[in-house]
Symmetry: C2
Subunit: 411 residues, 2 copies
Amino acid sequence: MAFELIPNGSVTTPSGFQACGIQAGLKRSGALDMALIYSPRPCTSAGAFTSNLFAAAPVMVDRRIIASGTPVHAVIINSGNANACTGEQGLKDAEAVAARTATRLQLAPEQVLVSSTGRIGVPMPMDIILNGVDKAVDALSADGGPDAARAIMTTDTVCKHIAAQLDIDGVTVRLGGMTKGAGMICPRLRMEPPQATMLCYLTTDAVIDADALRCCLDFCLDRSYNRITVDGDTSTNDTVILLANGAAGNAPIRKGSPQCQAIAEALCGICSHLAKEMVKDGEGVSRFVEVKVTGAATDQDARICAESVAKSPLCKTAWFGADPNWGRILCAAGYSGIAFDPANVSLDMMGIPVVRNGLDAGVMSEEELAKKVAVPEVFIHLDLGAGQGSFTEWTCDFTYDYVKINADYHT
Amino acid sequence: MAFELIPNGSVTTPSGFQACGIQAGLKRSGALDMALIYSPRPCTSAGAFTSNLFAAAPVMVDRRIIASGTPVHAVIINSGNANACTGEQGLKDAEAVAARTATRLQLAPEQVLVSSTGRIGVPMPMDIILNGVDKAVDALSADGGPDAARAIMTTDTVCKHIAAQLDIDGVTVRLGGMTKGAGMICPRLRMEPPQATMLCYLTTDAVIDADALRCCLDFCLDRSYNRITVDGDTSTNDTVILLANGAAGNAPIRKGSPQCQAIAEALCGICSHLAKEMVKDGEGVSRFVEVKVTGAATDQDARICAESVAKSPLCKTAWFGADPNWGRILCAAGYSGIAFDPANVSLDMMGIPVVRNGLDAGVMSEEELAKKVAVPEVFIHLDLGAGQGSFTEWTCDFTYDYVKINADYHT
């Protein structure tokens, strides 16, 4: 039951899913700005949403629908406006978008999920969006997944989608996914209560019950989205939605079964790919950096330490400059708040020993090491020598372009 | 017993203190790079040091001396090398610097404190530094405070020193201080156990016992250095040292007395001035930002919330762009981890109501508000409506120059 990735796949790779990306007119650039995913067959759903207290209106709507267990048929998504910090009106607007989509697809409003991404605190331009809904319904197609992935982009420069397939007891089951970043990226998603502006939509044609689907999503989150950061800002709109429409016709998959684990691993394959893609396409990013922490007292300590290094502006700017500057990495570990003995710390960069027993390992000159880290993907391994806890965080450098993108955002 | 600030004052403003700044040759630029503060009279001392686990060698030496209660006569300081993550050799080097200073001043080694700031993990160039000690001892003078303040600068662009005076029962008592930033600034100093790379040296000619002196410093820390951040990175070398030589001849000041409180407040006047100056001169800073949080459930909650906003890269880049973008401020409060009801949140910028009940207050257009925040000092007030807790953090914007300074640091 090993899975195989389909590099050009998308949310429409699984059977029975349609999608589209259209131009509603929300972006001054004239780029695609609304997407719709639709399955004529009812879908079992699972979702995980932002842990930010200022959860956006569409997040509130989706939490309610997913918690209710109502079969879902569609997800309507706009970029260009986050519908966050918009109060009662925002909630009404989100519901109105779902209702219009439902009407046009002959569904009930609670069978439609809704997502938004863009600027916080700005009223939704409902005329444009409702017209966009109509246009989107008309544009649905069985190969519309890549267009949908393009339509949800904000400051992203690359369109991110993929699919996977695996054999479940002789039946081919497919999974598809799409996601967007590229700033306010530090998703810390929660399923309980069902709660990035990363957005991620996952589809599968597996026959799988809701409990098993939730287990699969839960298995993925801490191995993908919940281990990435671009800027350390956890959005009000982070959303991961997983829909299963059963079109593959496999024998129903139950929680705890080997088949369920196989689906979870395939889903993890998709999500970790998309999560890394999101970091590589993060705002202004020039280098992807993997920060692996081992030897912590606990996994939670390892996570705290990895996040401290991954978010440190001094580490991130040094990486931009291809400056090995291992002192900044140790410094960020040292103020992370966890306990360890500095004298037991080891650090490797690109597999090269850099620090041993808390001191310069002296294996390579700084100039030589600088050449080794002047690469698109930097690998850092910090061992704290304090236990068996481990965690890997995926992050990026901090560049002039990040500042440019975010200081000029409103223009 | 109200105090009066002396704007051009320095660590040599209090009677009986001498200081100097000299060029030892540690900086390629040829700038002043070593400083010495000296009092022929023995000083009562108090100190607070970094909470980073990778505390630098000089920090370890100073902690031990200050904890021992030994009267102190001098502080020798080098910029250009942090002597951090340097192990046993680093400790020997720090002790050798203190010993050379002691010998030249006819003191015992444990009467000399030592500080370093600069790159982490690089061995100390002891020839240069020991020659520098000799030069520094020869250069001591009763008006050397400003030169000393210049010599401790690293990426600072402005030399930061000030003094204050107050009347204690008819006797004029003076306090002086100097500090440096300008990156790896998020000091979280601890006195217990006596533990920036902010460095701060404070002198007073008051007659005051060690307990009272510690109380005065403790009173100041949370009201000054422990409420600032430039980049959120807590250094391995952060140090605040306060020396009292008793030259003013006032009646001895005891812990808990009104005189002790008056000294504490004067010290606070100096420290909060120097702390703000440090933020304003932070690496690449174009705007100083005060983030005041009120209405939190507890003071600790208010601190967590204020720090979350003050450290948010999205808020900091928006401030650089003079973009009011209040959604990013609310977002950072919302993911800070504390509890409050978004519907009760108010936000003011420059005294203008921006958010009421979690929603756009609609008092001013975004264009008008953008003009109000395009100033050197931005004031933000967030009220969470959840209780009586409050905290004020001093921070800054995040600019192209910050990236430039820190990506090119090693060149």
